[in-house]
Symmetry: D2
Amino acid sequence: MFKLRFLTAGESHGRGLVGIIEGIPANLEINPEDIDRELMRRQAGFGRGGRMKIEADRVEIIGGVRWGLTMGSPLALFIRNRDWENWRRGMSPAREERGSAPPVTRPRPGHADLPGVLKYGQRDIRNILERSSARETAMRVAVGAVARRLLEEFGIAVGGFVTAIGDVSMEIEPSQLMEEDLRSLSAAAEASELRCPEADTAARMREAVERAAEGGYSLGGTFLVYAVGVPVGLGSHIQWDRRLDARLAHAFLGIQAVKGVEIGGGFEMSRRPGAEVMDEIFPASTGRGFTRKTNHSGGIEGGISNGMPVVVRAAMKPIPTQRRPLRSVDIETGGTVEAAYERSDVCAVPAATVIGEAMTALVLADAFLEKFGGDSVEETRRNYEGFLKSL
Amino acid sequence: MFKLRFLTAGESHGRGLVGIIEGIPANLEINPEDIDRELMRRQAGFGRGGRMKIEADRVEIIGGVRWGLTMGSPLALFIRNRDWENWRRGMSPAREERGSAPPVTRPRPGHADLPGVLKYGQRDIRNILERSSARETAMRVAVGAVARRLLEEFGIAVGGFVTAIGDVSMEIEPSQLMEEDLRSLSAAAEASELRCPEADTAARMREAVERAAEGGYSLGGTFLVYAVGVPVGLGSHIQWDRRLDARLAHAFLGIQAVKGVEIGGGFEMSRRPGAEVMDEIFPASTGRGFTRKTNHSGGIEGGISNGMPVVVRAAMKPIPTQRRPLRSVDIETGGTVEAAYERSDVCAVPAATVIGEAMTALVLADAFLEKFGGDSVEETRRNYEGFLKSL
Amino acid sequence: MFKLRFLTAGESHGRGLVGIIEGIPANLEINPEDIDRELMRRQAGFGRGGRMKIEADRVEIIGGVRWGLTMGSPLALFIRNRDWENWRRGMSPAREERGSAPPVTRPRPGHADLPGVLKYGQRDIRNILERSSARETAMRVAVGAVARRLLEEFGIAVGGFVTAIGDVSMEIEPSQLMEEDLRSLSAAAEASELRCPEADTAARMREAVERAAEGGYSLGGTFLVYAVGVPVGLGSHIQWDRRLDARLAHAFLGIQAVKGVEIGGGFEMSRRPGAEVMDEIFPASTGRGFTRKTNHSGGIEGGISNGMPVVVRAAMKPIPTQRRPLRSVDIETGGTVEAAYERSDVCAVPAATVIGEAMTALVLADAFLEKFGGDSVEETRRNYEGFLKSL
Amino acid sequence: MFKLRFLTAGESHGRGLVGIIEGIPANLEINPEDIDRELMRRQAGFGRGGRMKIEADRVEIIGGVRWGLTMGSPLALFIRNRDWENWRRGMSPAREERGSAPPVTRPRPGHADLPGVLKYGQRDIRNILERSSARETAMRVAVGAVARRLLEEFGIAVGGFVTAIGDVSMEIEPSQLMEEDLRSLSAAAEASELRCPEADTAARMREAVERAAEGGYSLGGTFLVYAVGVPVGLGSHIQWDRRLDARLAHAFLGIQAVKGVEIGGGFEMSRRPGAEVMDEIFPASTGRGFTRKTNHSGGIEGGISNGMPVVVRAAMKPIPTQRRPLRSVDIETGGTVEAAYERSDVCAVPAATVIGEAMTALVLADAFLEKFGGDSVEETRRNYEGFLKSL
């Protein structure tokens, strides 16, 4: 992040999650419901375990907002863990409770469990899994909701949908999807418990998840996140780490269980001849300016947004925690065991989509503010409109 | 980057490329030939344009190294552009030469050309393309060679090979590749002008490139980069941006024309049931410790290296510059034109592999020093060996 | 900060203050009382306004600590504002409360009030003063207490005392103060309500503060902060921003109302001939190593700690808020007015000393971890002891 | 730095100094003479050793500038060491030259020599002193000249002068100095070989330096740096490290041998009652806006520039290297020795003033671009003027 700074903290079964984000201009209208809506979107979705009922996340704004408006000071957000009562002793910060819960010693393959205990010199895997758990992403979604609010002020909308669960996938050709296509796919997805815009594909996804639940295994999938209304000029070619696509990739691979990401045509572009995957440039239909009829580049050329929709796709592996356990080794005894099992989702791809949207909003807000950011929304708007007029 | 800082500068046809890297411990043996070897690897490869003959890059070490050893101070590297004589006026820093070369006004689709001029308020695309060009990666390779030297001291080796060019691809199953497999594939690739370890696939790749050259179009492809000897414990789950996979994705998508990246099983993992893609944990065959028989995770679990080979695959789109030009719009006149053409490679996937290796070396060196880094190689070694003993 | 990251948030009369600190190794023993002790030290001291009674700060550890030990994950701290009930509407994040308190429109000279509203486009100075207020430093002290705990593990102690209030000052010659001197001065100061180690000077300071309170004006002063047990080798000469003295200066001038800082002999050194202010080097009395008989350099040579006590002195201006008000201009009406007055301290130099200690602890912990930091206290200790043995 | 990134590299007797600065907007006019002028100012001044004749620094712009204008890409600067021929073997990067010069083993008190070799595990002090030497500041001055050019575009001018050398000092009361006073003092200083605006004080300074040169000792002093034309609103109160005064202090204590810094009234403010040191607020004489009749705050309130001149004063200790040597200990033999002597200046306060100006320019450019920075000078100007109009 070049203009925003944010940190999150908090354990999965601790008192709650905390987030601080600095760099949001003053006078941005922000209300808890703007954030709660996103938290709810993250929690919704078929295939999620019983844990969801416990959560029912609500944000509390502790700092940075007064009377519904930001003040320029850092925002502090808090999400209470509703389950905390049951973990009060086991996750207490107090020394007196030491030993009040047995250690977790059977690492789950695919998780941070084993590398985490070795890295941090721990003998209880709980000290790792409490932070590596996807529970933490609730705070990213909350912080991302603030970024999303900022982008909305400037006509930038972020959305997404699930494109595959396991081997059930919908056919899409991202290079052909224009703003309205993306918006309508996203709207359709919003009504789907699998967050998939195609009803029949969603039905087959549901079956696949049911089968997996019965079989005691988990499923991954792929999802697409987009942003429309993004102006030309975010990100930069001048240094590798400033490229917008690089920053998005950083953010997406920073989501638990995401193992792949592609921008626009992505991997498919690598298979086709050059002439077929470039987005030719045409004069804008009205006034000055330029337009494209295709979007293989996913809205980013040379690390800079080009005014077309930003399109990112990501691959999520199946969640490592599964009812049908995997072989592992007890870190205390060294003996071969079955990996620990904590009640878990069967498929978290719909949730990951919402997290991907949040991270996209954060990356774009950062790049937007890097170019246009003043200290208030009004100043930012003035800067932005001055740039648009200059084009 | 958390422990290393580095910046590069310099234009494609300017006097040369400059790089500064800070954070390398003192007493690391480093010689120009360590860097020149990597520069040569980047320049080799079938399918590259005539430009390569001009280059013949050689590094000059300007600071930070004395008598073949680092001093702890930042390293400054310089790579002269051999072509500079021809561009002395057109790329001169001197005001007096203003106008000595005609502006480039026909943006190439797929390049930074158009978004770059709009972002930076330019009327001559040259002021963008000179920095967005892949020429700049020569300095990343040089800086990466320093990182590679550091990793070597600690038994970490980075390699890679081309896995596909256009629609010609070799079959590999990364989850099954152990250290020796990766090393021998990489060694085989080193002898191939396509940097592909399978001779017959390489032959077919060569044909594809020849066909493309004749047809006046470009080709992309995919490549694999790995690191072996990586200890458990690099990267962290505690904050999204510290995850090792996120940092690698940042680095790979920071390479020109790379549009996708995956870690280990990547996209394929998203299609398969959970039980099939987890790397079960077994006791190490000798002594204490743990081992795996598969590597779907690509050596990274929960954002932390797990001791298995780190495996990254990337997709590169075809180079936008093609002899058979694309439709574009003149930024001066607004009229429909053919995009500009500068002599260019037909296929740069072998070169991108070397750049991917360099970026991998930089990310791993950063994460390694974050955990073990002292101010000298000796101190770093002591820290590292102490950790290994403690496991 | 190079190894630690921390952010604080929260308004003076909002619900509370929030802090997140990342980078503290796992297995550090930390208990709320370690933090509360420092919060109490900040609140104590003669000359503070009635507000102190309201505060009685207590930290709540929300994340990062389990059973009295850090886990490697970021720590989240919360300090409730006890006064919140009275400000529930006036400082509410809820839009519905908009307008429930009259705006502050008369900027106080010397405060962020006027530049703040102009910068952030505000019409109510409260939106600035709530964050610029020194109340915010309570969280810095809390976060600093964590850093202090870390340093203690490695034998590094941070202390401080008030050296002047207004024109009442004690005579000290920092270059002559060795570890035991500093420790005993600090211990004496701990018993003083003015945090001044000399009883008679403290008595005169008290009189000066009483006179100021009667007269309706405020007083500043100077204070000294030191750290003992600091090993050689923290900070670096290789880049300006890595110098330990530069980092300390950054931290001290980051404290409200601090307008000057000096290391060791500071300004006095600039007046004396070179030969008189260098700390000559002698062989250590026992074993290998080196020692000094003076400490003009304040423990830092060439931006690197040299093993002598680190000594920093700072100048705090009188608090701008005074009962006897200053001339100002109403930002709404443009008319000449008296500046706003909020109940305030007469003299905050004792509190600033504690804040200076906290910031010193943070800077030193950052530099210590930059050199020796592993992911656990045990790993950090191993690295540290290995270095000491190597000297 | 929040918006600019810059790194410097290079050794005192190596091939030269290298600097990269990133974040300068495109279309800034910059010519080598803009930089060379500052390099010359740094080299001028009475009391400097013979080394200066060797230097005669000239910058070479390697990247980022074309035809006298920046392109948005990072600038790369190079300053050749004229003395390099004499050190070609002793400072060679080539392993073959190892041992071609005897090691330096007698650390100079007050320098990085001893802590540096211990930190970095060196046996030859040259490996430290080559980078810790003030020679490195030539590149900071060069990079600062670029920042200065940027500020000039927006009517911000940075200047400075020497206020004391040893115990010879001029009387100034910074709180009373308005823009024209500062400008005329600086202009007078420019004509003085001591960089002191008062001719008779300068004459006494000259005598003091001559006496010191004869006596074989060195002298420090104090200097003042200011910036005028600084708009309200640079820096921020919202987080400690964003405060403009903190950032300036970081930069000033990052200069070799600077041991103290104060903003505006500084230490003197700590001695006086509150009412005397606040800058009351008055309506601007014409139009809307505000003004002050005094400037105790040195142009910064609450960490934010307030539109008055920014005034910083710094204390420089005497240079540690002196002809009359100090006692030290040989790091090889452990025996008591006289410290090494390299030909050196007697008094570097005039040079430090120029370096202080350069660092001030960098900090202000960073804060200016943080608030107003677009990707081109034109965009930046539009943002800036829009803000000024909105006040």
